[in-house]
Symmetry: C2
Subunit: 256 residues, 2 copies
Amino acid sequence: MRTLKLTLAYDGTRFVGWQRQLEGESVQGALEAALSDLEGVPVTAHGAGRTDAGVHALGQVASTVVTFRHDAGTIIRSLNAKLPGDITVVGVEEVPDGFHARFSATDKTYRYVIAHAALPSPFLSRFAWHVPGPLDRGAMEQAAAALVGTHDFAAFQSTGTEVATTVRTLTMSTVREAVADVGHGPSGSLLVYEVRGDGFLRHMVRAIVGTLVEAGRGQRPAGTMAELLRARSRRAAGPTAPAHGLCLVEVRYGRP
Amino acid sequence: MRTLKLTLAYDGTRFVGWQRQLEGESVQGALEAALSDLEGVPVTAHGAGRTDAGVHALGQVASTVVTFRHDAGTIIRSLNAKLPGDITVVGVEEVPDGFHARFSATDKTYRYVIAHAALPSPFLSRFAWHVPGPLDRGAMEQAAAALVGTHDFAAFQSTGTEVATTVRTLTMSTVREAVADVGHGPSGSLLVYEVRGDGFLRHMVRAIVGTLVEAGRGQRPAGTMAELLRARSRRAAGPTAPAHGLCLVEVRYGRP
């Protein structure tokens, strides 16, 4: 038996999310089908982050235990030949027994892309939330920075979920400007929210982004994030930003 | 009556192309439906370039004659509210009577994007042709440069089409490297072919790209493009590259 660590990129648009569901195509389901083909019997894969429907990944990590002996290059080629075009396995390595993509993870990095040109770009409609009108990047940057550190993030957790603790530690929370280009030319100016932490509550990044956009529009004073964290009330934070602007960029293991 | 010049961006993936067809959704059909809604009676729009199914645009131009008196901002907002998310009107201006998007055009610029990383990026699958394996950019650049000038491009025309002349003038034909990023992070290194000319034969850019890739792979000496042009034989050139890597970037009018 070998434990494999797989790194995946995907366009999450048409999936019900990472996790297998009773109905609809999931990334996990597609990956397990490809792995099972190689193994000859059904194989389970565990993901580091249970990305929601429409959420993308550049560096999702999955772990699986298999018996086949192919080398990494052959595994990558075989899986990609079986997987649909919107999922790509970009890396495979053998890891020690007991490695688990989710429980062994040290931290995760997400990016959320806001297209804030007046007009939406058709090239970005799958990958960015279009927020027309002026946004005060300085205010968003200030609000974002206030989240770095160890805090109770209950204000940014979707209602109806239960976890042992809502305390998480963020080591990065920044807003920067960028320009999108798929190669054909610039297609709109962006604001990119980048966040790294030891764990994230359900819809946490999207609730943070919805709140940052309110700060950017001047609907919420940028200096009130500490107060918002203390209040621990989901209703006091902003709306949940749509899924399609979000991407799981990197999952790290071991001491950061 | 006013003549309007409309500039459009679109993700061509799900369209049968620019031109109205008996079956399937066309960009022209969608634009005409939106214009007709504003006008109250059916309106025709003429496009500068009849992009094929799957071909994109950042700067397609359409002309139309209407009677409504809305200002440019209102027209842009109204049309975009009616158009599907993969088409955006990015500009509207009133132009002199007799302006025709196609016949008045001085030149057109296209870009063709080749993703040449070993693994395909799911973020680029709609916008770039994935050509794994090494490509000699110098050879491609040399072959591309040989096409600048006035030549008979019969070797790069799809068979079965009839035009008065197959002579066209290219003023730019270059290959450069680029990196794609929709905001979430780099998703693969690209080769971008950029070509500008006074007109293009059917599938001409895609046939050129198919030929340049052969040069990049060393399957065709880079110095033989002049010979290929002289031979005027479609079979002597390379295959037609797939539609989805191509984008109509700009159409210019008046003296360049």
